[in-house]
């Protein structure tokens, strides 16, 4: 028996087998990842890829269709749509990831505190979370934009706040399950400090469904952000933002459909790609949907 088992496992194979291979097996997720990589590339290299200043107005060249000078045409102020699209990708991705990251950090902290402390702390925290969850995300974000005022950072804060509830509730549920496992008690018995138990034993066992959820939330965040900007309560107008661009083009939809069409299509493709990746992540790592566990 010993001989058969004495084959040492290569050090990295476990990591690859657990995290990389399940994802590689999801074909549609890899397609989504490729598209997202393209968007990220466009966003990072926007200053070099853009042909014009995204906020430079040229009223002489307004409402032009696609041409050699303006690859995707111009809007009613004569701003270059191609350049605005690239900078818009930057903004959309930054707001999407930043708001989810912030919401995740706060939500997980609340969930951990509620799940581990229990008692009155848990009751108070979960009632606050219930309050946040009572409103649909868009309504909650709109209410906070009304309070905080316009601006890119405020969009991030408002969206992050609307994500705190789901993350907190999910974390608490998983923590309640993990905290009664024998290995937590065993660690306490060995004299491991509370902070180390949370960091080493609780968090790693609740983190994967949370990260899957975060991946799916990014697309919701981008959609909500565009929605807020479209409604005029998001980022401030000259900023190149897809939601704003769609709103600006609305009046000219019959004369110059490309003004709304270009950012609209870009947004739709990005959201589909993010959802593909999110679904792939869920299928690969969420134990409840795992087929070959």
């Amino acid at each position: 028996m010993r001989d058969a088992l004495n084959i040492p496992a290569p050090p990295d194979s476990q990591w690859k087998r657990r995290f990389v291979q399940p994802l590689l097996r999801q074909r549609s997720a890899m397609l989504g990842l490729a598209i997202i990589a393209l968007y990220v590339f466009a966003a990072v290299f926007a200053p070099w890829l853009a042909t014009h200043d995204p906020t430079a107005q040229d009223l002489m060249a307004s409402l032009q269709g696609p041409s050699a000078a303006h690859w995707l045409g111009t809007d009613s102020y004569g701003q270059d749509l191609y350049s605005r699209l690239l900078y818009g990708a930057q903004l959309a991705l930054i707001i999407g990831f930043a708001s989810v990251a912030l919401g995740l950090a706060v939500g997980v902290a609340i969930g951990l505190a509620a799940g581990l402390m229990g008692g009155r702390t848990e009751w108070v925290l979960m009632r606050i979370v219930d309050g946040l969850l009572a409103f649909p995300e868009l309504i909650l974000a709109m209410a906070f934009m009304a309070v905080l005022g316009l601006g890119t950072e405020n969009v991030v804060y408002a969206l992050a706040l609307s994500f705190v509830g789901p993350f907190a509730r999910m974390t608490r549920g998983d923590v309640l399950q993990v905290k009664n496992q024998p290995y937590i008690e065993a660690a306490r018995l060995m004299g491991v400090t509370t902070a180390a138990i949370i960091w080493r034993h609780v968090l790693p066992n609740v983190v994967s469904p949370i990260l899957v959820q975060a991946g799916m939330r990014v697309s919701i965040a981008i959609l909500l952000e565009s929605g807020l900007s479209f409604l005029g309560i998001g980022v401030v107008p000259p900023t190149p933002d897809w939601g704003l661009m769609i709103a600006e083009g609305r009046a000219f939809i019959t004369m110059a459909p490309w003004i709304s069409g270009v950012p609209g299509v870009a947004l739709a493709i990005l959201l589909v790609a993010l959802n593909l990746l999110g679904d792939g992540l869920r299928d690969a790592f969420d134990p409840t949907t795992q087929k070959d566990a």
């Binding site: 088992l5 496992a9 060995m190 004299g191």
Partner: protein
Amino acid sequence: MQEPIFSLLDVERTYELRGRGWFHRASRQLKALDGVRLDLQRGDTLALVGESGSGKSTLIRLMLGLEPASDGRVLYGQRDLSQLDAEERKRFAREVAFIYQNARGSMNPRMRIEDILAEPIRLHGLCAESALPERVAALLDRVGLPTGLLQRFPSELSGGQIRRVAIARALAAEPQVIMADESVAGLDVSVQAQVLNLLRDLCREAGITLVFITHDLGVASYLCEKIAVLYLGRIVEQGPTDAILNTPRHPYTRALLQAFPRFDMPLKASLSGEIPSPVDLPKGCRFAGRCPQAQAACRETDPVLTALEAGRQVACLFPVAAA
């Protein structure tokens, strides 16, 4: 005489059972342990034997400080377990190790065997960070496992391997006392023998004090020098293994021995009925209801654990005569 490392002074553990509903608030008490008195000397190997529900696991959880005693005191050395300060608690955590019945469940499924074994060493600062891999490998070698397992996760090991890893982890902090809960139950006979031999060698070589829970008298006699038989939360007979196995003085011990399968004898079901509920303990001797030789007095008087001969105690009004 050397001082005991563990002493239990009339330890009780009761659980409140809340009545259901608005009008049945009257709570009832479940007595999991009822007046347990036990002394453990340094270097002792003690087996706690009894049926399911006899309070073996509760007793060990109390001795580990995982649960408070409702009454009575659990002393570690000279100190009450419930009154240890932070410094003493840390020392206790290092000196007393516990091997869970569910070995796999007692290990974080997201950690490699290497990290699981390194954790207690690192925690108590037992060696320099550079010497850690060597030390972990030595631990694994000591329990007879190949070092190739270091990079695996607990779910990838077999039942026998994971139990040996659990033993290795218990040894990692260089403990003086090891407590084990049914550490060989449900294993193949061959693997069981390996694990038992390992535990026995460790205790003999390192002079470790061992408390071993089992319902298997064969395992108890192989591994331990002393046996304490529990029935319904009380020790009914206690003494050296040989004496207890050869001349059981308590009817319950005798019945347990007769229920143990042997090659040369047909098996007779000597114990009828279930262990009674610890919620409503019968008056008098708690074994009277199942005892083949119960007399009228047994239903009236609750016998206490009394010394019969040196190192031998029985809680019975009419002990079985020594054969």
